[in-house]
């Protein structure tokens, strides 16, 4: 069958999966007074449509920042405004100032879900399709298989279409950026990534690899001459994109400062909702919250993040190839939470790498249970796991050499029981995830340890991330595989 028909069928299946999940409940459904992320997005439409731009990020009588105040960069606000404009033409009650708080109806839910789907169709899905068709290796069937698994990633589907968010937009822009860099269009890539940054500040985690790769590339082409010219063009593009996005807020410095204060809230602590990261796990051993003050926690976190990312970024500066760029992005993968489900299907052609992605989804199970998304969670995770194993069937083709597991295995042997087969680790991980999922969904934790299961899940996820992080750093510092060994008969 021709590639275009296979691609269209896969995309249509991905849309069905997304819409099927969106038939379920959303975050904060029927839970006054605060509701959840769904109400937050609706509220931003209300605020951006009814109030002048100068009041969007400020605490005024009309805009109570304690009730889901805007805390994403301006592009999100503009997107909300566009959605509100359409909402107003369909039913003005949806965005009426003050009166529409907590508004819930089937038509409104349909509208909101539709906005997510449209955004995905316009930005995220084309990026995935083009990336898989042009920047992955192998036969066309292999590319379509990778694309299919990429599109089926449960994390993004459940968060965007279940819990309710617009991560597809920022990830889509970032993916356009990666795609452009892979094709050698550095200026366009930097513009796309700037748009991603201006949509969600979480993309800052990926900013360092982008920066180091582009800088390294400019240095390599020679800082006198072409390199400098490229640097200047990229710099101007980035500045212009930022200026365009922040234009209404640049009139007064106080405006811009307020926006910055809203999108980088220092007052929040290091971890909410028992998320899967280093700090939550460490907190069980050392009560960090009680030792350090809020500000110190933040600086410590920042310092550790930078330190962790530093090795791969330095390597990227010295060897700015696209291969190393992709690896650096994945190293950043394990650092913090929300941005983490960047489905970097870069190395999806090895099934073992699907594991950390699934672990991350599992770590969000407590959240999904709260939103009433258990059935979609089970179905999408099973689907992703099954099709990754079946289509990519890499368990046959995963060789030690390809995975560069030599150095990694040595480390592993030191830390754990020396089981030689790393596929066993894969199955153990899956078993652990299934066990923890069942436990979280079904069992009641003992009364003196009420958060036992979320913390267990976080810790397991952290161990996986640590392993992934170490592994990718190891690979980063070894040579890329030669072209010959990458070609497989299919």
């Amino acid at each position: 069958m021709q590639t275009w028909s296979l691609v269209s069928i896969c995309v249509l299946l991905a849309i069905i999966a997304r819409w099927g999940v969106s038939l379920n409940s959303y975050s904060g459904a029927g839970k006054p007074p605060m509701f959840g992320d769904y109400e937050a997005q609706r509220h931003w439409q209300e605020v951006t449509y009814n109030l002048p731009i100068q009041e969007w990020y400020f605490n005024t009588t009309n805009n109570d920042l304690n009730y889901w105040g805007l805390d994403y960069p301006p592009l999100t606000a503009y997107h909300s405004w566009i959605c509100a404009y359409i909402a107003k033409t369909i039913n003005p009650e949806w965005v009426e100032l003050h009166k529409s708080r907590g508004y819930e109806s089937t038509q409104h839910k349909l509208f909101m879900r539709m906005t997510v789907l449209v955004a995905d169709l316009l930005i995220y899905i084309p990026a995935v399709v083009l990336y898989c068709l042009y920047l992955t290796d192998g036969s066309s069937k292999k590319k379509v298989s990778i694309m299919f698994c990429f599109l089926l990633y449960p994390g993004l589907i459940l968060i965007d279409y279940g819990h309710f968010q617009y991560n597809g937009v920022s990830l889509g822009f970032a993916l356009w950026g990666i795609l452009a860099l892979g094709l050698g269009w550095d200026v366009l890539g930097s513009m796309a990534f700037s748009l991603a940054l201006n949509y969600k500040q979480m993309e800052l985690y990926h900013a360092l690899p982008f920066f180091c790769y582009l800088l390294g590339k400019c240095i390599k082409t020679g800082l006198i001459g072409r390199g400098l010219f490229l640097l200047v063009r990229i710099g101007v593009t980035v500045l212009a994109t930022f200026a365009l996005c922040w234009l209404p807020f640049l009139a007064e410095p106080s405006q811009a400062m307020q926006v910055v204060r809203r999108i980088f809230p220092v007052a929040r602590g290091l971890f909410e909702d028992k998320v899967a990261n280093t700090w939550c796990s460490l907190n069980t051993l050392i009560k960090i919250k009680s030792i350090l003050s809020g500000d110190s926690q933040l600086y410590l976190s920042l310092a550790c993040t930078l330190l962790a990312v530093l090795p791969s970024c330095i390597r990227l500066l010295t060897k700015p190839t696209f291969w190393h760029f992709k690896l650096a992005l994945v190293s950043v993968f394990g650092i913090q939470h929300w941005a983490v489900f960047k489905p970097t299907g870069l190395k999806c052609n090895e099934i073992c790498y699907a594991c950390p992605f699934l672990v991350f989804v599992c770590s969000m199970l407590p959240l999904f249970l709260k939103d009433g998304l258990l059935v979609p969670y089970i179905v999408t995770s099973l689907g992703f796991l099954f099709f990754s194993i079946y289509l990519l069937s890499a368990l046959d083709h995963c060789s030690e050499d390809k995975l560069r597991l030599g150095a990694y295995n040595k480390l592993f042997y030191c830390l754990f029981i020396p089981w030689g087969n790393h596929f066993l680790h894969f199955y153990i991980s899956i078993a652990a995830m299934v066990g923890l999922s069942i436990a979280t969904a079904v069992l009641i934790p003992p009364p003196h340890l009420p958060d036992l299961f979320p913390v267990l899940v976080s810790t397991t996820a952290f161990l996986h991330f640590l392993g992934t992080f170490i592994h990718f750093n190891v690979v980063q510092f070894s040579e890329p595989p030669s072209r010959k060994s990458q070609k497989k008969s299919n």
């Binding site: 269209s8 069905i16 999966a17 038939l23 099973l382 079946y390 289509l391 069937s393």
Partner: protein, 520 residues
Amino acid sequence: MAADSCSWFPALAVGVSLLKCFFISAYRSTDFEVHRNWLAITHSLPVSRWYYENTSEWTLDYPPLFAWFELGLSQVARRFDANMLQVENLNYASPATVLFQRLSVIVTDVVFIYAARECCRCVREPKGSRDVLSRPSFVLAVLLLWNFGLLVVDHIHFQYNGFLFGFLLLSVAKHLQSQHLQGALLFAFLLNLKHIYLYVAPAYGVYLLRSYCFAQDNKDGSVRWSSFSPLRLLALGAIVTSVCALSFGPFIAMGQLPQVLSRLFPFKRGLCHAYWAPNIWALYNVLDKSLAVLGVRLKLLEEAELPPASMTGGLVQEFEHSVLPSVTPAVTLVCTLLSILPAVASIWLRPHGAQGFLRCLLLCALGCFMFGWHVHEKAILIAILPLSILAVESREDAGIFLILTTTGHYSLFPLLFTPAELPIKVVLMLMFTIFSFTALRKLHSAQGSLLHPLEVIYLLGLVAVAIACEVVFPLSPWQQRLPFLPLLVTSVYCAMGVCYAFLRLYASLLLRREEKPKQL
């Protein structure tokens, strides 16, 4: 692909089962309550009350074997939510109930999956095809397992057709494999599960009589009367009677047979369902209406003489036609029998083995669909699913399949009228259509194009009808005055396609070259 040769079937089955799970929270029709009610009736009441119970309007109107099936399901239902088994709990739909019912459809589909695998085994594989996606068995598996009509009717609208079609396809597969007694047994079960399959009973009857009871044919293909085998006839008779006894026995013993039959065949309902199935009577109704309107305009008729517009009111009643003669159940029976007579006669006079039987089965199904009384549009699936088997083997059948399937599936659109399900039905339809067109075209690429340009234009017209009915009409001023209009347009447009497919299938049966008669 890196997968090995036999693993694609389980992958397709697992994939479609996971897909079905996405529709658990989707729209459910009244059929959901119907089956919940039947679970309650069979679980809570004694057998003697099953066909008399009418607390709910959705009385038991399937044959007894299906009632036993519901009884079996109710044993599992008890563990999900025992409240759904109370007959008084009308329209009870707790999350556990919904989950149980939806899962029961998905799980019982395993019969259909097994039947599809058997059908794939019967398909001839051309030598030397290494690419999995181009194999006839793969294409057939997708056309059966991922059939748009089954997904929409079973897993959204809510019915158990997958389970039932599993029996039908398994029976067909057994006949194709020359295991006629097993095929007959399966069909006997099927008839006692849902009596709508009486549509295809003539095909079974004549085929088994002609090709199984008469063990051999003469050299010129005609009947060799001397080869009649009473033993075989006896075996068939025993199978059918024992299954019917198993099913109806308790009710005959209690003297309830007339009551059961009156529940199974409610002829009080009108010529057409509330939404007209795309058959001859839809065209007849439209012709009648147009003539009436024309007559009034041309002052040939008095408007007061005409009966009120009850046909288009969307209610299931008895009604009369205004200009053309009214149609009674007897008339439809005669028309149906006349329409299937040539097909049945053809397999008697010139049997073409199991392939001819399959073709005759299709024509019986389509003939009954075209001319039957109170036909549901879902009945088109009885023709579409078996036609898939023929489509992967013959170019001409593939062309007919594409027309019948696309029109038949589109005619199911009005079943899902809620806005939330609009993306689902459109995307699923697109998926199935893209696959069927590209896969069948690739399969038969060596023999020329599948569709005539006029047929392509007709199918493209479906897109225009879809946009008009789903998008333009709801936003137009006619929405209030003529709410039935999109349904009318859909049924009439699809009826044309279905009629055309019916005629072409007939032509392919009657004009087929003679094949060497087979020994059985």
